[in-house]
Structures are given as C-alpha cells and as structure tokens.
Symmetry: D2
Subunit: 168 residues, 4 copies
C-alpha cells in the first residue's frame, strides 16, 4: 500500500478530511542572507497562463521535509540545491476551502498548507508542468501588476513572505 492514491480514492478522501499541503517561496539570497530575488513558476492552465508558488501535497508516510524537497525538485529541477531551515516551523499556514468566499479557495478540496521560504543555491530549470521559472526582485514582486498574474491565494502568501523577509 503505497502513498499514491487512485483518482477515485483521492476524490473520496478530499471530501472527507482536510489535506496536508506545503506552499513554498523559493528565494535567492546574498552572502548575508538578505533576499535578492524570488522565484515564481509560469504555468499553463485551462484559463490561460499564470504565475505560482511551488506547492503540493504531503503524502502518506512522507515527512514535511521530504515533501518540500520533492516538490522543489519537481518544479525547479534536481540541482536547485534548496537550503531548508533547521527549524520546521512554517512562517504561516494557509487554509483553503472548496467554498468560494470563505478565505482561500480551492475547488478540489479543503487543504491546510504549511508555508515555507526556502533559499536555493543551484541551477533552477523548469520541470514537469512548469513552462518557466522566473526570478523577480522584491520590488517587482511588490507590484500589483505582478501579483495580478497569480491567483489571489498565492499572492497573499507571497505578501506574507515578503513581510517575513522585511521586504514589504
């Protein structure tokens, strides 16, 4: 019995309990740890192109650290060299509900997402369903124009991450 679910099982479970997710803000920092740029994914979706954080589910029997590393590798490639913090405390949590109007919205499920800022030191290239990984300065990320290219839930988490890094 592995951690992967059939589509039917996943559909069933998603209507029964909240799902555990991680939302990750990849960053590049200078030698004193100050953020220099923030990586956003460019993704093709049914309704067009949008920018997104690295995000995904924590599997049965998987640790949160393993899930963070797996999703970063999935979206940034195998040599991104993420530097996870020795503390597993998320900088915030995000709660998604399948009901429009009640906070963050995810039509598929109720999800509780642990949010992390993760510096990466290696080469990043698009992988999986990602068209491109683009790095923006904090000043660029603060603009409403760039945030409008993301869904509102991810834009909120991104602003919270900017606050956590002293860049709001």
């Amino acid at each position: 019995m592995g951690p992967w679910l059939s589509p039917e099982e996943l559909e069933f479970v998603r209507r029964k309990v909240p799902m555990v997710y991680v939302d990750i803000v990849p960053v590049r920092t200078d030698e004193s740890g100050q953020v220099e740029s923030i990586g956003l994914l460019l993704e093709a979706q049914d309704d067009g192109i949008s920018r997104a954080l690295v995000t995904g589910r924590v599997l049965f029997h998987e640790t949160v650290r393993e899930a963070i590393v797996r999703h970063l590798e999935k979206d940034l490639g195998p040599v991104a060299l993420p530097q996870l913090s020795p503390s597993i405390q998320p900088f915030t949590i995000a709660e998604y509900f399948p009901t429009p109007g009640s906070g963050k919205y995810d039509e598929r499920q109720h999800a509780v997402s642990l949010c992390y800022i993760v510096p990466v030191m290696g080469e990043c290239g698009p992988a999986a369903d990602t068209l491109e990984v683009t790095w923006f300065t904090p000043g660029e990320v603060r603009t409403p124009e760039l945030q409008a290219e993301m869904n509102e839930s991810h834009a909120q988490i991104l602003r919270q991450a900017l606050g956590q890094m002293g860049e709001l």
Copy 2:
C-alpha cells in the same frame, strides 16, 4: 455531508493521507504575559492513567481556529476563555507516524499536528473523557518525573513549548 466520518470511513482515510491535528498547551500567565502554570489533562487509558496535552483532529470545512476552540472546550469546559493569538503561525509542527521508530508514533495514523500555546483566563474543569485538569508550574513541568507520566510525543512538544516560553 457533514464533517463527521463513520468509523469505516475514518479507518479508510487514515490509511491514505496524513491527518491534520492540533496539539495545544494551555497556560495561565501573569499580567505581563509570563507563564505561571501549564495545564495537563489526566486521562484514563487502556494501559493506565497518563497526562496529556489538549489534542484533536481538524474536521473537514473547519478552520484551525475553530478546531482549537472546540478541542479546548471539549477538554477544559465551556468557560475556559482561551485567548488565541492573532497570529495563526504554530510554534512548531509535530509529525506522527504509524510506524514505531520514525519520530513521533501514533498507531492509528500519520498525522501532521500544528502546535499552539494558548493562555486561558477562565474556569477550567474536566469534561468528556478527562478525569482532571491539573496546573503545574514550569519548574514542575521540567522534571523528568512529570514528563514520564506523559507519552513521549507529548512530552517532546511540551519541552518545545517551555523553550518557546523561555522556561527551559
């Protein structure tokens, strides 16, 4: 379709995905916020009596704040007057696995638990399956003797909470 699951559904889901939990350390503080005492539950279990944190599942469609309030009310009664922080950031997360030896252990499930310290200002009395709520000073909680009356997972979270409150 409410948030409560039949025993069979719950058993099924628990073998498919990690469950979202909260672990709560109730405290009493003085007027400057310094912790004065920590509340532990005395519970009767199959293998005897033990002390425990307030803990429980986050239900489908329930916010984390609602779950914290519900579980505190369940274990401390309806007039405990919990003072939740305006920040929903947990002070740590705890990961329980159904496999002995890999971190925290919970034979029933894989659970990712959000851990909070919550001051309470009202009257606390045992409710539900709790025999007693007992308040201990930080000095008492630091003793190996008291910690030995808890399962090791809860004792670890409690030590982390003491660290967070500057009481280690």
Copy 3:
C-alpha cells in the same frame, strides 16, 4: 543610579551604541483570536499630525515585558488590559539608522526595535502626548491612504504585522 538619563547623557549614549526599542501594534480580536481592529495613535508633531505605533525605549534594568506594558500604559492609558504572549519572540525586528537612505530612519539614533502584536481587552484612551487612539479594521489599515498618514518605518512594520496576522 536610576534608569533615566539626563538629556546630555542620552545624547552621548545615542552616538555610541544602538538603543533597544520596542514597537507595538495594539489589536482587538474576536473570541477566536482573529484580529478585528488595529489601534493607531494620532500624534501632533513639529511638521503636522501623523499616526503612529506605540513605541519607546527599553530602560536600563527594565525587562522587555516591563517596557511593553509601560509604553502601552503611557499611550493607551492604565486600563487597556494588554494580553502579552507567553512567548517573548518578536514577530520581527526593525533597525533604524541616523543616516537617510539606509533602511529605516531615525535622526536621533541607531535603534534596534523588537516588534510585537499585543491584543488589548480594556478601555483605551489617549494619554501623554497622544491626541487620540483610533481603531481601524484590517481593510482600512491596508489602504495606501491610511499608511500615508504614518512615517514609512511604522507603515512597514504595520504591513509586516498584517502579514503575520494573515490580513495582507
């Protein structure tokens, strides 16, 4: 030798070492801890009227908790009933320098300020040099118009506090 300094001593010390400050965001919350409103001071200054956080110096021999309580009492009055967290971890630090252009600016000094969000439960009234204490919803505080009524350093801390409370 008390904690208060003569003007000459304070002037001397301020050119020698960074000063320890606290910046405090007073909030009112609902019974689940969710922020409902944020209190800003209306102050008369040489160049007009502006809104500000509760802020002030930590004195020699004074604990950070004592400083928080003292400054809240100074600006919100003696019956504000602040509920300090059992954790003394600030949600961020703010660094002020007497040189324009290098981050936050304070012409008087280099200051390292510990930033806290503190719920208050009692009656708040203006005291000392404060003209008024005004409570704003998170939505109001997010507007550039209101933030333009504060100095930029306090507006930055306020946005970080909104992020910490999930209100950005």
Copy 4:
C-alpha cells in the same frame, strides 16, 4: 567617530542603557535541513575552560546581519560560509542583567540579545580567543554533562535552540 568605543566610554555606556547583542548557535545540517551537529566554542577564561555559543555586541551603525557575520567569522574563521535565513526574526531573545538572581546574568552589563540558529557549510577553525570549535550531535548536546560545561545562560539558549529544531 567610528563604532568602536574606548574602554572608558564602553564602561560608561554599559551603566546607562541595555546593550544590543547577538547569540548564535552554529549548526551543520543534512540535505533536508535536519540538524546533524551543533558547534560550541571552547574558551579559556579566568576560572577555567568552558564551552560557549558565538556571541557579541552589535556596533553603532552595524546591521544585525553584519554583526552575525562578523562574530561568526571572528570565532569560526573566514571560510565558515554561514547561511543566514532570509528572515531576521530571532528565534528568541535573551535578557542579561548585571544583578545576580534576575534571569540571565552578565556582570558587565544589561544586554538584550537576539538569538539565531545559523547553518554553516564551510570549514570552521578556531580564531581569536577560541581554543577549539567542537561539533556535537543533538543527543550529546542534550546531556546535562555537556551543558554543565557552559554557563547557564548559554545552556538555556542552547536548549531553546534544540526545541526550535525539534531535537528536545
């Protein structure tokens, strides 16, 4: 007027205001960020040999990041390659007073210290007044025997750091 003070000036200032310090716990982590070892300094002091955290003052006009890097370089050498977090939030603060019995003790001064856990990736060698840098596993650091080789203030901060890293 540089940031360095004459001994007389420093002595004067130390009796007037709290001093800003940093206390740093250097760690080595595995590729998922989990702590593997913790670096402690071996120092010769008047009353014998003891183990210590990396610690020191924040200078006038110096940022906290600059102070962290400077003190790590002073104690671990120039190629330790510290990886500071993009967030400047300390995991706790430590308050030292020149009066025995009131919390952490420092006969020289009242100090407010910002505490950080900093992963290092390079070579570390003793420098300045340090005899040796020794790396211990979390299990070793947890023992009362090792903690007894430190002053009690640093041992407390170290236990809090272990808690923050999920290693208590």
